[in-house]
């Protein structure tokens, strides 16, 4: 099993980079959110691989924490999107400058 961990870690790095590129290039807030989920999935894969290689349960526990954080982030983030859409009528993240000073 341990001989495959390079493949898993490389795949994790590639998926993280794809998610990063999506966050940089897309303008639609929901798609940016989906790209953040891709990055979280890639990090989960790396954690699981290290947990398998070290034979220790800390990695699995971290994955459960990441899943809980992702669920909380989905709830709060989508509530913010609905609120912004109700106020402005679009969710193009390039057009929001509420927090700019």
């Amino acid at each position: 099993m341990a001989e495959y961990q390079t493949i898993y870690l490389t795949l994790s790095a590639i998926l993280f980079t794809i998610g990063c590129g999506g966050v940089i290039t897309r303008k639609n807030a929901i798609v940016v959110f989906l790209c953040i989920e891709i990055m979280l999935g890639a990090v989960n894969l790396a954690f699981i691989t290290f947990s398998q290689a070290n034979q220790s349960p800390e990695g699995i526990f971290m994955v459960m924490c990441v899943m809980a954080v992702a669920a909380a982030e989905a709830a709060v983030g989508l509530a913010i999107f609905v609120l912004l859409y109700r106020k402005t009528g679009f969710i193009n993240i390039d057009k929001f400058n509420l927090l700019k000073w």
């Binding site: 495959y4 961990q5 390079t6 493949i7 898993y8 870690l9 490389t10 795949l11 790095a13 590639i14 998926l15 993280f16 980079t17 794809i18 998610g19 990063c20 590129g21 999506g22 940089i24 290039t25 897309r26 303008k27 639609n28 929901i30 798609v31 989906l34 790209c35 989920e37 891709i38 999935g41 989960n44 894969l45 947990s51 398998q52 290689a53 070290n54 034979q55 220790s56 349960p57 800390e58 699995i60 526990f61 994955v63 459960m64 809980a68 992702a70 669920a71 909380a72 982030e73 989905a74 709830a75 709060v76 989508l78 509530a79 999107f81 609905v82 859409y85 009528g89 969710i91 193009n92």
Partner: protein, 168 residues
């Protein structure tokens, strides 16, 4: 055999992740993301962690993606999606260079180090007790404080989401 399976699943995962970015329709992006979650669950199964694979399907593909699809249906995004061509943005050289550099650094950093075998999840213990019991032993002995903090975080997120989405 197993290596071929891992490589096929990896290629499908990369293709679905790229299609999430390149789809113009937001609902299509969400559907590709559901596929990506399932493929990641399959990779967890190939690493012999059945419990985490089931958790991935239930939490990601079930709960979070249902949230997102509900939000897309509520928001009527066909008018709002006026983004520029993502393919042209992605492959204009700079981002591609940064991405390749990043992948190279990660592979150099973590891919070639020998792993020390330590901890409680040996193969014998996995066969005898099972993964869930070992994980529960860890959570309720060493990881009790982070576990409780996660529950507080979830409660705070629910209260915050209801407060934000309320009409006022």
């Amino acid at each position: 055999m197993e290596q071929a399976l891992i490589l096929i699943c990896g290629i499908i995962a990369i293709v679905t992740a790229v299609m999430v970015i390149l789809s113009r329709n937001t609902v299509h992006s969400a559907m590709w993301m559901v596929g990506n979650c399932f493929i990641i669950a399959v990779l967890f199964l190939l690493l012999h962690f059945q419990f985490i694979a089931i958790l991935q399907v239930i939490v990601y593909a079930g709960a979070i993606m249902m949230f997102i699809i509900y939000a897309i249906m509520l928001l009527n995004l066909r008018r709002a999606d006026d983004s520029a061509d993502p393919l042209k943005n992605l492959f204009n050289g700079r981002y591609l260079l940064v991405g390749l550099l990043f992948i190279g650094i990660v592979i150099l950093g973590v891919g070639f180090g020998p792993m020390a075998l330590k901890g409680s999840m040996t193969d014998q213990a996995m066969m005898k007790l099972g993964e869930v019991e070992l994980l529960a032993n860890y959570i309720f002995a060493d990881g009790l404080l982070p576990f409780e903090l996660v529950s507080v975080l979830l409660t705070a997120a629910i209260v915050g989401a209801v407060y934000l989405a309320k009409k006022n």
